[in-house]
Symmetry: C2
Amino acid sequence: MRLLDFWFEFGSTYSYPAAMRIEALAKSEGIAIAWRPFLLGPIFHDQGWDDSPFNIYPAKGRYMWRDLERVCAQQGLPVRRPSQFPRNGLLAARLAFRFPSEPWLPEFVRRVYVANFAEDRDIADSQVLESVLQALAQPVALLAEAQSVEAKAGLRSQTERAVSMGIFGAPSFTVGGELFWGNDRLEAALSYAKSEAAKYAV
Amino acid sequence: MRLLDFWFEFGSTYSYPAAMRIEALAKSEGIAIAWRPFLLGPIFHDQGWDDSPFNIYPAKGRYMWRDLERVCAQQGLPVRRPSQFPRNGLLAARLAFRFPSEPWLPEFVRRVYVANFAEDRDIADSQVLESVLQALAQPVALLAEAQSVEAKAGLRSQTERAVSMGIFGAPSFTVGGELFWGNDRLEAALSYAKSEAAKYAV
């Protein structure tokens, strides 16, 4: 089974519709997903930005919020512009990094996105993440593990790996060395993964 | 018939695949196109950029050239990375602004894009534009009209109008006050134009 790496940042708007649809879509195409949380903050910082480009460039930001509404409407997803943007997804990203292959992880990711972009809840607040874990019948003690030295260092190095693969925004998808950027490239990425898988099929 | 405004800049990479497919696609959907050349230079300048963001941010640029290859391959379009980027599309834009409704205009636009992004010819060179006009059996004297005071001022004010509509990049599509940005939003823009047209149908 061919693997597609899904690179997401919890503060990223277009990562929301991508996270909500990627699992079902990949399954229908026979592609396995590796969930790769990373941080946009350091990447933006290296480009000279100390904030989201959607805040720095107002016309781009105004357009994005309207476009996100349309994209979510088409997917049947609730969306509400958060009262704070971008929200800090560091703790959630550390948790997702620490438990990438747990069966509850995809639903955890989706619920954190819904909390941020549909319910306007502060995903930087550990109580919000605890409530998500509880809804999934998982122990809140997992959050302590997400704060371990190893998880912190691991997420940092995963972000460095993203940069080394040419990633500059989220969501991104990689299949081997091939990079696709943006929710609207998910279909192309899956189609590429399928064509690569066919090359190695016997 | 509902009108879709197609905002393009001759130096813009993703405007190339959009320009190549918009006429046939819009026709099949029963939507009329208004061809609206404008200039990204002044818009980028107001955002603090004195060059294309694809040159300023290397990771974004590297990705774009690869993505453009894939997009063009999917459309069956030739593409070759120009030896100079971005090229100055001012003269071509003035000509397109001056003759927006001539029957030869869509083919003129397409041939200028092919010259820039498939043949690596310098579209800032009036001789290149003359050869395009000649291929369309049009008098090269049209170029002098494109350099009139009225055409120059008109293109400037069309660019200001783009800004006032919230446009910050190319290609863009507008239907009334609704803005769509990017070649990959063309289908959504046409679909919106159709749904708006249906509202007013008797």
